[in-house]
Amino acid sequence: MTVRAIQDHYQFEPRDTQHHYGDNMLLYIGWDHHTLYCAAHAFVVSPQQTLQDLIDQQIQAGFHQHPDFEQLDWSTVQFVLNHEPLQTDFSKTLAELGFDHKSLLRFVSPELKGYQGAHV
């Protein structure tokens, strides 16, 4: 289905294509069952940074306020990239792991269920 327009070629540049972000790209990151944060966060990341860099930099900055954060055991955390399970290799770059512009990365911490186990 497409828009029914009074002009031919109703086509416009999207506002958020990758080139608006220089050499970087947008990445959305959400922590499942931790609704203290009302939504996933939006970050600007480099495709050349590693998954470990992502944890140490953006994820640390974005999620450290949660009381569960310091108990996170990253070796048991499961990552889901654009609805598909991600093979965890902390030393690989985001580009190598298949991250692209406006990807959604969700992480699941099986032992941590949020404040009072209530998914908060």
Binding site: V3, E13, R15, C38, A40, P67
Partner: protein
């Protein structure tokens, strides 16, 4: 400010979507869907709330607006019926618009829901009760009447029915999270208010939302009033932070939907917004999403405080942050005759 601030972009995108549609879709969107069914929720129960709280200025405005709405409503319904009577081919077109605009309207009205349940000091009725009276009963009767033309209830009505238990809590939580970036104050409900919310939302408040406020209260008591780090992911269609949760299964799981259009990925908050995107992707790929624009560097900065001060023109420290200790709180106490 209306062009810039992250939550004002929500009504802005709603009305720009309508204005950039054709005249018949505009009429269906505004005069029928919005004014006939949805704004009753704004102009009747919410205005009663304003009156009950002594805010007669808002009441005067609201009743004046409602009389104007009444004219649009009469016009809107008659023209919708006229369109449906002209040709049966119009029925699916009108239905598609009804589906789209009811969904967009319910997303927009989540803000009114939070005003009723959380912001009014004296509450008249819950958002859920208002929804049942003005949408389910009044709107339901209207759709029964339109059934003879082949029109059915808006798509995802069953989701909307479940969401009435959740949306006001979720919407206020967004603003509590980003109370540092809002041009008004936020606060944690008092014990009495939480008990009222438990009574009004027996199926959801204690289970899903009271624990959020308890954690917020604990953090505040530790001197770490929670203001969310970072910036939220926004829905490409409604532009609200992606806070809404799954109504079919686990209501603590954020609802993530996406679409690929011309090789580019777009995220939506629900099946409703997803379907709207899929029908007319050319429109929504142009969305000016406030968070993404900040991250592109188009809103000044680099830090959030300078964006709020120089780009949003907030009076930082007075307009935003918690109600506690704010000038607004001082005014309120003075007005109520309490010691400052």
């Amino acid at each position: 400010m209306h062009d810039r601030v992250w939550y004002l972009s929500v009504p802005k995108s709603f009305f720009e979507d309508a204005r950039s549609a054709g005249p018949f879709e505009f009429l269906l969107a505004i005069s029928f869907t919005f004014e006939y069914v949805l704004t009753n929720l704004l102009f009747v129960p919410f205005m009663s709330g304003a009156a009950y709280n002594g805010d007669m200025t808002t009441v005067t405005f609201g009743f004046s607006a409602q009389s104007d709405e009444a004219r649009h409503m009469t016009l809107g319904l008659e023209i919708v019926k006229f369109l449906l009577e002209q040709h049966e081919d119009n029925v699916p077109i009108v239905q598609e618009w009804i589906d789209k605009w009811f969904w967009r309207g319910t997303r927009l009205l989540s803000i009114v829901g939070m005003m009723m349940d959380y912001m009014l000091p004296n509450k008249v009725m819950s958002w859920k009760e208002a929804w049942e009276t003005y949408f389910e009963e009044a709107g339901g009767a209207l759709f029964k009447d339109l059934g003879r033309y082949g029109i059915r209830m808006p798509k995802y009505s069953e989701v909307i029915e479940k969401e009435k238990e959740h949306v006001s809590h979720q919407a206020w939580w967004i603003f509590y999270n980003f109370g540092h970036a809002a041009g008004f104050h936020t606060w944690i409900p008092t014990d009495e208010e939480m008990d009222w919310l438990s009574a009004k939302y027996p199926y959801t408040f204690d289970k899903y939302y009271r624990p959020r406020w308890e954690l917020a209260r604990k953090m505040e008591a530790e001197g770490k009033r929670f203001y969310s780090a970072g910036l939220p992911q926004l829905c490409q269609v409604c532009q609200i932070p992606m806070t809404f949760t799954e109504m079919g299964g686990d209501p603590t799981m954020f609802s993530y939907r996406d679409s690929i259009y011309q090789g580019e990925r777009y995220h939506t908050c629900s099946d409703g917004c997803h379907d709207i995107f899929e029908l007319e992707p050319e429109k929504y790929i142009q969305a000016w999403l406030p968070v993404n624009q900040i991250l592109q560097g188009n809103c000044g900065g680099p830090d959030l405080e300078s964006i709020l001060r120089d780009y949003y023109h907030f009076n930082v420290g007075a307009d935003n942050l918690d109600i506690e200790g704010s000038p607004d709180q001082q005014h309120w106490k003075k007005w109520k005759g309490d010691a400052a």
